[in-house]
């Protein structure tokens, strides 16, 4: 396991750079992670999604897919692509300190 330091926080990451320990994440780390992947600043809408992902992961034991985020939060898929451009599902998971989603859809 590799560790890396992000804004003074030492966290464990996998070979891609995703955090591997969800409990090493905290709300003050999210803006730092977001900045590293070019999302700055985090808006209320970003936060709503991040908090959903955290709660859902805690309840379900896995990261929500893009479709699940969309249907459960009532956010249009199109808007998810605006908030987290390019690869929304992976970027949301990264900023939320979670593994990338495993589901196909």
């Amino acid at each position: 396991m590799t560790t890396t330091t992000i804004a003074g926080h030492e966290v464990e990451v996998n070979e891609e750079g995703f955090l591997t320990q969800p409990d090493q994440w905290s709300e003050d780390l999210a803006p730092e992670l977001a900045k590293l992947i070019g999302i700055d600043p985090l808006t209320d809408k970003h936060w709503e999604l991040i908090r959903f992902l955290r709660t859902d992961h805690a309840a379900m034991g896995e990261t929500a897919t893009l479709r699940r985020v969309s249907t459960q939060t009532g956010t249009a898929v199109k808007d998810l692509f605006v908030l987290f451009p390019g690869k929304p599902a992976k970027k949301m998971a990264y900023v939320s300190g979670l593994p990338k989603p495993k589901g196909c859809v």
Binding site: T2, T4, T5, I6, V13, E16, G17, F18, L36, I37, G38, L66, R67, R68, S70, A76, V77, K78, F81, P85, G86, K87, P88, A89, K90, K91, Y94, G103, C104, V105
Partner: protein, 173 residues
Amino acid sequence: MTSPIVPSFDAPESEGRKLAIICSKGNLDMAYPGLILANAALGEGIETHLFFTFWGFDIINKATMGDLKFSFVGNTAMHLPGSSMGIHHMLGALPGATAGATAFMKKQIAALDVPEVPEFLELLSGSGCHMWACRMSADMNHLTEEDLYEGVEGIISASDFIEITDGAQLLFI
């Protein structure tokens, strides 16, 4: 101080990647692979084009898209889901077999929280998928854009599609 390890979401080597999928079949089990792969590609930020042709037209025809069927006639590898117990494919020709097999497959798909075809098209559309209808198929079926799912950008010829997908990786389903 060393820089942190960060996923390379916007790596330049994947920039400009383009995927084209030709959907030529209208059976339920042949519609999903194209839709799922398109969704996966879009989620990776890849420009994705779908071309619906021949029976694949049923996927975007408003009259048929919600009612695609699964038949196992001709599938000599048919077996019960989750079991190695074979089912003779000709049993699929019995009355009610297609309806039963379709209902069962739809249930399995829904259990995985994968949407039905019309909602799946909405998901793809929202993700920026380019959808094209085949001119010849439209003419053969006497269908116009009015009859097709709204997210379809146009009815185009095969050569238009080839032109649009210049440089794309291509899948024929």
